[in-house]
């Protein structure tokens, strides 16, 4: 079944998507996820673009030496890696825990209330 592209939408017609969309658990997932993603995205963008802006328009700050020849610019550039990793870790922690749990509840609710029949055609799974 996996190979037949046109069947992609068929089982979807048996699902009441509005009902799932209106599920309070789904709304909770949507709200929490949106808040976290928007916050992290803004933090990440601001922090990253401080690097080219700082290097380009305020080189004086970057050239201050703090640890032998190591200056603010090098430390700031290195800190970019740490910040990116922290953002990834924060998102992954929330995602692996709370968001995955909420999504599973939404799926379970949908099946229990009969708005969704379990997918008929199990895809053939390729091994790896």
């Amino acid at each position: 079944m996996a190979a037949t592209a046109s069947n992609n939408n068929d089982p979807a017609r048996n699902v009441d998507w509005s009902a799932i969309h209106a599920d309070p658990k789904f709304q909770e997932l949507h709200r929490k996820k949106k808040t976290l993603i928007v916050t992290l995205m803004i933090v990440s963008m601001i922090y990253y673009f401080l690097l080219p802006i700082g290097g380009g328009y305020f080189p004086g700050i970057f050239t201050v030496q703090v640890w032998g020849p190591v200056n603010v610019g090098i430390l700031f550039a290195l800190s970019q890696f740490v910040v990116a990793w922290i953002i990834a870790a924060v998102y992954a922690a929330r995602g692996n825990g709370e968001f995955d749990r909420l999504a599973a509840e939404v799926r379970k609710n949908a099946e229990r209330h009969g708005v969704m029949k379990p997918a008929a055609g199990e895809s053939k799974r390729g091994a790896a």
Partner: protein, 632 residues
Amino acid sequence: MKSKIMQGGLLVAISLSPCTALAQGAVSSEWRWLTIVVFGAIIALTLLVTFIAAKRVSSASDYYAAGSGISGLQNGWAIAGDYLSAASFLGIAGLIALYGFDGFLYSVGFLVAFVTVLLVIAEPCRNIGKYTLSDILAFRNNPRTARVMGSLSIITVSIFYLTAQMVGGGLLVELIVGIDYTVSVIAVGVLMLVYVLFGGMLATTWVQIIKAVLLVIAAILLTILAWAPYGFSLPGLLDAVISDQKVLAQVVKLLGGAGNMNEAELGQLFLEPGLFLTRPLDLISLGLGLVLGTASLPHILMRFFTVPDAKQARKSVVWAMAIIGGFYVITLILGMSAAINVGALDIATFDEGGNMAAPLLAQHLGGGPDALLGNLLLAFVAAVAFATIVAVVAGLVLACSAAIAHDLYVNVFRGGHAEPAEQVRAARVATLIVGAIAITIGILAEGQNVAHLVGLAFAVAASANLPCLLLTLYWRRCNTGGIVAGILVGTLSAVALVMVSPNMTYPLIETADAQAVVDAGPATIKEIRADMAAAKSPGERKSLESQIAAVKDQVAAATADVKTYEGQTESMLGLRAPLFPLENPGIVSIPLGFLAVFLGSLLWRDRRAEEMWEETYVRQQTGILSSAGAAH
């Protein structure tokens, strides 16, 4: 593509220029056997993997998405293998070796780009996509129209990127090993075709994993060897950098004179911004292209269809960020070590773009060109570079052929009615065609400077694909009109801006620059001669002598340039000077792309897109009915 890049490329890229001095490659002929052994071992390993994978490819899902059976950890390594192209592996170490701090700025952008992938792209795309980016665009919009637009953009981006990889790859293999350019291009192309045709995505994935593991091993090994003498201290290494004569000479060369600075001040400049990237706006524009473009590069996006669910997609990105980030952090050590151990001058003698910094550093750390270990390390780095090119090209060809076979042939031309066997056949035929095109372009484009094409690929992805993907996933009002407008405006504006940018060749400017080099030549040589008279050690004298030779080479090349452009006054578009001042179009073309999706959606009525919103949003958030057909 008659253009020649100047003043440092968009996006690092492979700005190789075959050099007069060493057309024979970095490996001397007596050590050629060692290189062949190392290359042979790595190629044999990848072919073995392909052989095993080939038995498991029976459906289109196997061919394009490895049956969605790859784990998050495996996919993280494969993403690293797909993403760390020769440009980023060799190019960034080279840029740091040549330009110090400014080179390191590139490293940062390449990692931060994955924050966008993680937060907004990876999971939704896994949940509602199947094999290609167009699957997501077609989900709630008019399927045929969206697929045609999506595949247009996938093909554009992949061909730009592919051309840069083939030309750069051919030159790299020629430079390092000394095989003829055309033979190198054919070798890369044929090997890649073997992986993809027989083993599909499963073989491609494992080739990418093997390559990433080898690359990380090589990088760690070199870092330990290079950094140990300084007790793994950052200030210790950098102290050696700023007081190194070769570094000082490079800084003076970049500044065009020492001014009235003393040696300590000059050396410190190598660790400060401004030696390479002199226009901040260009750097911001580049950053935008990177941070938003990576998330919608077709070959990267395609990797998320190989995992079973959103959780594994998320894990893939986290692993990829750990591997890619770790790699880019140590490019700082590798680049700085190359600057003191090999020296900018020697690096640039092989290749002005700096791509030889890492291979030459490997050779030096192993004891130099005459030592067994030196040549073994060089052979290892060279083989990793070769595997890198093949692995990246394989990912690109697979993405491009999926757009042709899955989007255009099966879904648009055949209206989705194709038997599984026919789908796999179509995929293989498309792969063969794209592979043949890649090899042909690679051979035809020999000697062309294609560095700006990598930047252009990122810019088109960021300006066309990303606005469409993001808004169709997250904006209720987005519809087919927006997708059409976004892809067209984003692609055309990015390409058009590059065509009138300083990336193109402007004969008047080229002539003036070359003339300046010719005019300055005698004075520079006189200056170095004066230094030579004052030089104490024979080593110092020798290095100054090679500087004189380099200046003479530069003058000769500049004289030739002046002759080449004699009588020409206009670029290929008939311009005397660039219309657009920046090399990177992102800062203008990305907002234009977003604007086009907004306006196109608002001006268009599309009931299906509106009706499908709740389904789209629920499915991309929860993975209900995802094509991987996993547990839920």
